[in-house]
């Protein structure tokens, strides 16, 4: 993007929810990293049925994935589009009966066990990069010293927009008790502690 293009674009005001949008794992809210990864997959696994998230009915488990495959067979790929397929609903919102599986959806014996590779792939992507020469992560950016507190895509967004010379505001929006922790992480980022994404802000 060249300077004239940057100069003509509106200022971006980017609002980011925290829990399960940029932060994976919410111990204060009762969800471990593993719980959240299972919930994320459960929300993108679609089955035949109606949205029952606001009701207490539907006491039985879904029987078919949204493409018609029986739930005991290999499921279709995770579905992440905006338009919901006709007659489909995410497993997560398909009724009261599924609640016991939301946080362990991909565990062996659970309905989403066939999606375990996706779970593993996401968990690996959240590992803080390390080798023998690298210093430990700033504790504001990795609370357990192993995983990212906030997902790398969030920091890449800030870093790339800054490199492009864009004018933008980041607005963190949360219902939770994580606001201070997110502010601390952003300060660490602004101090250059999140390589390779921070230096452009120095």
């Amino acid at each position: 993007m060249n300077e004239s293009e940057v100069g003509t674009k509106p200022k971006l005001i980017l609002h980011f929810d925290v829990n399960e949008t940029i932060m994976i794992g919410d111990p204060a809210g009762g969800d471990t990293l593993e719980d959240c990864l299972n919930k994320i997959i459960c929300k993108s696994a679609y089955v035949r049925g109606k949205d029952q998230a606001m009701s207490s009915s539907q006491a039985t488990l879904p029987t078919h994935w949204y493409d018609g495959t029986h739930v005991s067979d290999t499921p279709p790929s995770l579905y992440t589009e905006w338009e919901i397929p006709d007659g489909a609903v995410s497993y997560y919102r398909s009724g009261r009966a599924v609640r016991r599986y939301q946080k362990n959806f991909t565990e062996p014996g659970s309905p989403g066990a066939a999606y375990r590779d996706s779970y593993d792939e996401m968990k690996a992507a959240l590992l803080w990069p390390s080798n023998e020469d690298s210093p430990p992560p700033d504790p504001r950016l990795s609370h357990d010293g192993v995983h990212h507190f906030l997902i790398p895509a969030f920091f890449r967004t800030i870093s790339t927009l800054a490199q492009q010379g864009r004018s933008f505001s980041i607005v963190i929006r949360t219902f939770g008790s994580d606001a201070d922790d997110v502010a601390h992480a952003l300060n660490a980022f602004a101090e250059g502690k999140h390589l390779p994404y921070s230096p452009c802000l120095r």
Binding site: L14, E20, W82, F154, S167, V171, C200
Partner: protein, 155 residues
Amino acid sequence: MKMNVETNVWHGSYNEDGVFQLRGSGSTELGEVEALSLLEARDQKVSCVVCTDDYKWWSQHGCHPAAGKPVWITQDEMTCHHIFFDDNIHNNTDDSIVSVRVRESSDQSFRAMSGEDILLQQGVHLVRTPTYEPILNPSWFLEQIAKCEVAYAER
């Protein structure tokens, strides 16, 4: 480029009449227009603000989008483009988490859009975030921003 991070957390809430306000440390309290000015920070190139939102109000209103976390559109100006990323934005007129508040021009008051009109803001001002995508694709937010900018320019 330096990023200014506002270290004080702001607390957003609706009062009994459904008017949005933002409280800071001490007795600082901003009305909706002042709050918007703080978040847009037009005098800064890059800025960052952390806000809490009013879960109680949203829950008391049955998770209706009009009672959710507010985002703003002023229809006769395009100097600021608001985009809201949230995993709980749903393709549902009665159950979603972001309230789009609109006014025709800056001398008017904001009003909440209907659930139907809020759905039309997906891909322009709202981006439902299936978190599986940005976890595995670090450029996913940037790609969505680019799509939103194209859609916004075409309005």
